[in-house]
Amino acid sequence: MTTQMFGAPIRRKEDPRLLTGGGRYLDDLGHDALAAAFVRSPHAHARIVDIDASDAVDVEGVVGIYVHEDLPGRVGEPLPLLIPHPTLTHGRTGYALAKDEVNHVGEPIVMVVASDRYVAEDACQRIRVTYEQLPVVVGIEAARAGELLVHDDVPDNVAAHMLQEVGDVEAAMAAAPRTLTLDLDIERSACMPMEGKGVYARWDRDRGELRMYSSTQTSTGVRAAVAAKLDLPLAKVECIAPDVGGGFGVKIVHPWPEEVLVPWAAIRLGRPVKWAEDRREHFISAAHERGQLQQVTVGFDDEGHLLALDVKLWHDNGAYTPYGIIVPIITSTQLLGPYKPGTYRCEFWSLYTNTVLVTPYRGAGRPQGCFAMERTMDAIADELGLDRAEVRSRNFILPTEMPWDHGLLFQDGRPLKYDSGDFPASLAKLKSLVGWDDFADYRRQAEAEGRKVGLGIGCYVEGTGVGPYEGGHIQIETSGRVNVSTGLTSQGQGHETVFAQIVAQELGVRMEDVFVTTGDTRKMAYAVGTFASRAAVMSGSAIALAARNVRAKALRIAADALEVSPDDLEIVEGTVRVKGAPATSMSLGTVSVLSNPLRYAFDEAAQAATQFAGTFDPDKPPVADDEEPGLEGKDFYSPTQATFANGMHAAIVETDPVTAEIKILRYCVIHDCGTMINPMIVEGQVHGGVAQGVGGALYERMAYDESGQLLNASFMDFLMPYASEVPTIEADHLETPSPLNPLGIKGAGEAGCIPVSAVIASAIEDAEGFPITRMPISPYDLWELRRRHADGEIPSLHRTSSTTRTSGTSSKEPTA
């Protein structure tokens, strides 16, 4: 039998290439290309009065300078609103180059194309734009107040207002023995992949064909959008995602202005053009996420059972809404986590501000939702004097209650229906891993040493693998090489490896014979993209189905040639053989030859196939009526709904009694993404997600001043964690297979980051003895909270147990 490939921690096929300088990322391509650079708005809200490029045109090496008026037809029309929604009544998108008005710092106004990037930037520096400044709306409070407007024609800055309700929340709340209200705040962060965005386009004048490369999470999406914008037949546009240096959501948005402008310039100039986003551009003209204000009112009984949950969210969507309102929809639905809310109402307002636009970042609204729900769970536990894990477990949806339909519509417009999950088992594993029941002793010991420690917990459920579909195509060459392609893209998830594992397992071939291509519209024109933890579920399933088709075809052909029944055949290490009589066999390469009846014996496999030449039936055509030439197969996977992964995290933190510095002492993860294709890769995804979560909890924020300037648009001041800031992660897994797909898998990509802010807030609150309602939190923030707590501005937790309630008791430092 073939070695078990599916489920094994196989080393990645992509690594030898990436480790030896063989990766090819966007800016590694096109050494002969011209370079584009942009004049971007230095103002958050302004009317463009005049653009004077007279000093720039003579800069040696400048090839073209373009403003909005130069853009013909659809190129000059607003960028598409990709995901409309009935409640998005006031969707607005920007232009590829700003027309008349700019709505955030960083919005592109002029494109310069020059011999290299240095020269292009020289020219940009010489272009003078005159602005008439307009009032600026920064921050959710200012947007909500609605006194100043981002877009004149959008009243109250409200892009969308949405309400979903299940059950009679008013009545249940009125009847609830207890109620609590929490006001919560999560600040902005951003995906911040190590490689910025980038576009490189070549125009083949002879064939009238455009080839473009983009550092994107969806090459099919970019292709379609660019073809539409440039008014080219789809057949004349191809888009390839080369190696992509991280995405985390920001590269799913498309078309970015540059994805339209660079190909347009390449066609106009008849020369290859490239734009590689620099770090400053990425900060001010890509996308951010997270920022929300939340108000949660919860009704519950004396045992801590939820009876009514009433949530209001104010979501900062930035200046435009090209990606619709996916983020707040996800927050409002995934907020429920593993719990039964009794009755639920969620109302949100998606608000414009004069800041960089907000589109999904790993977790995509879930970290905010999890924060709201888990802060609420802790508050209930504190109110009732109950153990925090116990309150959670009393509200769990049980395995026997699966599938569980919340009665809400999810991001894909389909019912929010959990397919599987064993939350009590996950919680038991987590408590055991972190030593939940021993923590009180640990705390006492720490306090005796003058240390402040706290334990935090957070649980989440994550809808993964949303549709509509992905496809897989497999073709076996006469050499036995197995070519696999799927249309979605890769940004480090190890798709070349995990998809090869699936094929190796399903088909019975060796890993080293399988070669996977992703994100190339020449190989697979039908695809959606890599987001929502969907690649393994969607493309993995599609590729498994395709592999089963190919296998069936191989067995049919081999059975015919070997004159046995297909049922008597097996495929082992690339050879089709008779079960129990392995000497009667033929390689898949030979089957491939037979599948494609040629006149010419051009290689060894073709010669070997001639030994079976005598078996043909002269009454049948060389290719049977219901067959196609070639040993290949294709299939698509399109599920009726998302599959729901889940996880639970716990952390122990220590806070410095004087300086309020925060250190994560332990970080524990229980993760359930169904059947794992490659546990090594799943664990890597979890590690990376948690690290991003730690960044979002303790370090990263977008510091806008009131004029809309981003004050920390560099890696010096936007504090992405180094290794020194990330704790060692202790992870364990539960595998509750999904009943929805052929492999039992659920998505794993985003999971790690979802509960981290909730967990760290829970732990800091536990250490400090007063509520933590705003994240991220810095030492300075915590020090300020201690001062306000000491001044009586912030109440203590109710819990009776602890000696850690007041701040600064072991400090020589007065806190006021």
Partner: protein, 293 residues
């Protein structure tokens, strides 16, 4: 993020360097390690017309230890000074501070003299020059001169170095026998500019403190030294009186510093932080003083 064009000068001697600097005047900048300068150039926050690249100038790359000082040439990289056992033996404070300067790859390229000439109050080495009562050796068109540290630092990113002058070396003064030093700082991330930092030197004679001083990172606009003698003088480390004296010293630091707030921490927080860091660092220095006495 690409630098604007500039004319590159690559003098081979100090004289040539000074001559070029005199020619280009305020249009010129000296390039040594470039670890502070090049980010500024890449972001086009500055675009000098001339860069005087001194990396090929002979005779600037040595560390010399004399009975009075550790002399560090303008091309000595932070890492070179950090690794110099001779310098460490003479003045352990240098290594104690240098390991806090950014990350190793930056220290491999950045020069100690360059970071002093950059005069960023968030930099460690200007504070160390002050703490050691150091001197900057300068070459100019009319010969060389020496600038005592208090006269060198004029303001944030501002020194008394004239446009046509080159800082060729600094001398960090050595402490008397019986002196222990320590340096600590608190940054948001390991290797970042500190929110606050403090270096101290405590001299113990016959079991009691005979001299003590401190200098600071990120909490004063120019490097400054605070004499902790009034708080700690005559006190025996490790006694109950010492604990009180440390508290007095910390209080003196609190009053001395004048931090500014930014997006990472408020002025009040930084003031608290440097006070606490002083409390933590003084016993270390006193221990080391005891060990060397």
């Amino acid at each position: 993020m690409k630098p604007a064009p500039f004319e590159h000068h690559a003098p081979l001697t100090v004289e040539q360097a000074v001559s070029v600097l005199s020619e280009v005047g305020h249009e010129g900048k000296v390039l040594a390690g470039g670890q502070s300068l090049i980010p500024i150039l890449n972001m086009r926050l500055a675009s000098p017309a001339h860069l005087v690249d001194i990396n090929r100038v002979a005779g600037l790359d040595s560390v010399e230890v004399t009975p009075e000082a550790v002399r560090v040439g303008a091309l000595v990289r932070h890492a070179g000074l950090e690794r110099s056992e001779e310098a460490f033996a003479a003045l352990p404070l240098l290594r104690q501070a240098l390991v806090n300067v950014a990350h190793p790859a930056i220290r491999n390229r950045g020069t100690t003299v360059g970071s002093i000439a950059h005069a960023d109050a968030a930099g460690e080495m200007p504070a160390i020059l002050a703490l050691t009562d150091g001197v900057v050796e300068v070459a100019g068109p009319s010969g060389s001169r020496e600038i005592e540290w208090p006269d060198f630092f004029l303001g944030a990113l501002e020194t008394s170095l004239a446009a046509e002058e080159l800082a060729v070396a600094v001398r960090f003064g050595r402490f008397p026998v019986g002196t222990g030093t320590a340096f600590t700082e608190a940054a948001r991330r390991h290797g970042d500019y500190a929110m606050a930092g403090v270096g101290v030197a405590v001299t113990v004679t016959d079991g009691v403190v005979s001299a003590a001083r401190a200098s600071f990172v990120s909490v004063t606009d120019v490097p400054s030294v605070l004499d902790l003698g009034p708080a700690l003088g005559g006190v025996e480390p490790g006694t109950a009186a010492w604990d009180e004296a440390v508290e007095d010293a910390a209080e003196a630091v609190r009053e001395h510093v004048d931090p500014e707030g930014d997006i990472h921490a408020s002025a009040d927080y930084r003031r608290m932080l440097v006070t606490e860091l002083t409390r933590r660092v003084l016993p270390q220095a006193a221990d080391r003083a005891g060990a060397t006495a």
